[in-house]
């Protein structure tokens, strides 16, 4: 089987419009979340990761007319541009385009503004990105709840192996809308304060908006240490459409299958980037799956305290962060952790750590519909 190497990337988020700006904030423990007493989404206060529209419009006007594109499109286009800027030689005729989103431009359902109804369709979002840059291949759009962004990498790997293309840009994005915020609120899942993944005093999730893009290829980056996707697996809980499994079944199975594909045992894993949404049930389920996989001692974090839950972008952003942690031999802290609030032993990283060798990192994600995903990233030497 061909490998999938992770090349250049770009994250557009409240923490910055370049990956390096995002990493700076992660290292210093600076959150992108803000508490808004008055907001356009709910009558009650919310705490969320919001991309400043004015700054976004300013940045976007360098590459296009902001009036022609929705906020989400602007974020996603800027993310792809960030990758293309670093790869001017890239042949767009042969580069695949894979898009992940849960709700796309769903805010237009309430008010189309000056946009056409087609903009509501997720495949249209794919075509907008394709046409903006002049990609030639038909975009592939993945919409599989909160594992979408990571699943899109697994899709890229499969399509490369089937011979569709050897290089692709994977882009993920979701934005805040009254639709999504009111929905999570009706689930009584939102926290009015900064979320506290895995903590005893956690009171729910924060939502966030962001986009990210990454170039992937079956060829490694020359003269460089490379990070590859060594194993990936998804599994359904077959238990409940919105509640996480009490036994962590689907996530446990995903972790086991991804270890098998990576041909390693759990002892090889050096760190875990969790889903860690800070709901009671998600965090507990994850702790159970991690414990069943004998990974309870392994340092782990959730970055939801920085970004909130960015839905279809989250697992892609977190995969990109895994790549940089591995290249830089560093671990970003899990913000707002107080005291463990899950029934199994886990090892939450509370301070920034340097000089830590991460040759294998596990990324987990779970979502509505009972879906789960595990990915294992591997550090490959210059001569591999």
């Amino acid at each position: 089987m061909k490998k999938l190497y992770l090349h250049d990337d770009c994250i557009i988020s409240p923490l910055g419009f370049t990956t390096s700006k995002n990493l700076e904030n992660l290292r210093s423990g600076t959150t992108g979340l803000q508490k808004l007493n008055k907001n356009e989404f709910l009558e009650t206060p919310i705490c969320a990761g919001i991309v400043n529209s004015e700054i976004l419009t300013d940045a976007f006007s360098e590459i296009g007319n902001p009036q022609d594109f929705t906020k989400l499109e602007q974020m996603m286009l800027l993310a792809v541009q960030g990758v293309l800027d670093k790869n001017p030689e890239l042949d767009l005729d042969k580069t695949g385009l894979i898009i992940s989103t849960t709700k796309g431009n769903i805010h237009l359902l309430d008010d189309l503004a000056d946009f056409k109804k087609e903009r509501l369709f997720l495949s249209n979002l794919g075509n907008i990105i394709k046409d903006f840059f002049g990609f030639k291949l038909k975009p592939i759009v993945v919409s599989n709840a909160c594992i979408s962004g990571g699943l899109a990498l697994a899709v890229a790997k499969k399509m490369i192996n089937v011979g569709k293309f050897s290089t692709a840009i994977v882009v993920g994005g979701d934005m805040l809308s009254k639709f999504v915020v009111s929905g999570f609120n009706s689930f009584q899942a939102l926290s009015e304060n900064d979320c506290k993944p895995f903590s005893k005093d956690r009171t729910g999730i924060n939502l966030g908006e962001a986009a990210a893009a990454i170039l992937v290829s079956d060829l490694p980056k020359k003269n460089s240490v490379n990070i590859s996707l060594a194993g990936d697996a998804s599994a359904n809980d077959a238990n409940h459409i919105s509640g996480p499994s009490r036994t962590g079944e689907g996530l446990y199975k995903s972790i086991q299958n991804s270890l098998k594909e990576a041909q390693i045992s759990s002892e090889a894993i050096k760190a875990i980037s969790t889903h860690g949404t800070a709901t009671l049930y998600n965090d507990e389920m994850e702790a159970i799956a991690i414990s069943r996989s004998e990974l309870g001692e392994i340092p782990l974090h959730s970055v939801k305290g920085y970004y909130g839950h960015t839905l279809g972008a989250s697992a892609l952003i977190e995969a990109i962060l895994c790549k940089h942690m591995m290249l830089n031999s560093e671990l970003y802290p899990s913000l707002n952790f107080t005291e463990t609030g899950v029934s199994k032993k886990i090892n939450v990283v509370t301070a920034y750590r340097k000089s830590i060798n991460l040759d294998y990192v596990l990324k987990t994600a779970s979502g509505f519909g009972g879906c789960n995903l595990a990915m294992i990233f591997k550090k490959e030497g210059e001569n591999d």
């Binding site: 599989n144 009254k178 077959a238 519909g369």
Partner: protein, 198 residues
């Protein structure tokens, strides 16, 4: 490279349910009534069906028929796609947002919820993916399924195009496995999808 075959296929469109080329159920009624009577036709007890959104109901009925008497296990993967995502339920939920946002409507505002419903019903603890496309594209589904089987992540794949928009439904679901005698090439699959069953 792995060759996939079709074990069974189900087509649901314009008031008809077709199994392996044969019309097994038809009704002139509107979609709500059609879903209700087609569920009765299944002759099973499954109260959860009535709680599902219409997209899930369509997927449930189709999979129930395709998987009847079929030898599947928890490693049967689900590879689904459509054009309108969960827009039908999105619109219903959006209506509720004006007054009291409904959690039971919100939960169906993702296209992959139907994968969860089918997984629960048949206890499939398998690989799931939902793609959104401009139109039915057998190629992507077949390629993805082949990769799942080749990499031993699944032993069979339940593939589907499951679209619902403005009360119009268009369903094509097939159970795919290795080296079955009926070949599931892109042309073959396309032909079944395009055929008229009057």
């Amino acid at each position: 490279m792995t060759n996939l075959g079709v074990e069974h296929w189900v087509r649901i469109t314009k008031g008809k349910i077709i199994l392996d080329g044969e019309v097994i159920f038809s009704s002139e009624a509107d979609i709500a009534r059609f879903l209700k009577t087609s569920f009765k036709f299944l002759n099973i007890k499954y109260p959860k069906f009535h709680k599902m959104d219409r997209l899930s109901k369509l997927g449930f009925v189709a999979s129930e028929i395709a998987l009847k008497n079929n030898n599947i296990d928890e490693e049967t993967a689900l590879v689904f796609s459509n054009n309108s995502s969960s827009l039908d339920s999105d619109q219903n939920y959006q209506e509720s947002v004006k007054e009291f946002p409904s959690p039971s409507l919100f939960v169906y505002t993702l296209p992959n919820i139907v994968l969860g419903e089918i997984s629960i019903r048949h206890q499939l603890k398998s690989e799931n993916v939902f793609f959104v496309e401009d139109e039915f594209n057998a190629n992507l589904i077949i390629d993805y399924s082949k990769q799942l089987i080749e990499s031993k992540k699944a032993n069979k794949v339940l593939c589907a195009w499951l679209n619902l928009h403005n009360d119009e439904y268009d369903v094509f679901l097939w159970l795919s496995s290795e080296s079955h005698k009926k070949e599931a090439s892109e042309e073959q699959i396309r032909k079944i999808y395009d055929a008229d069953y009057d």
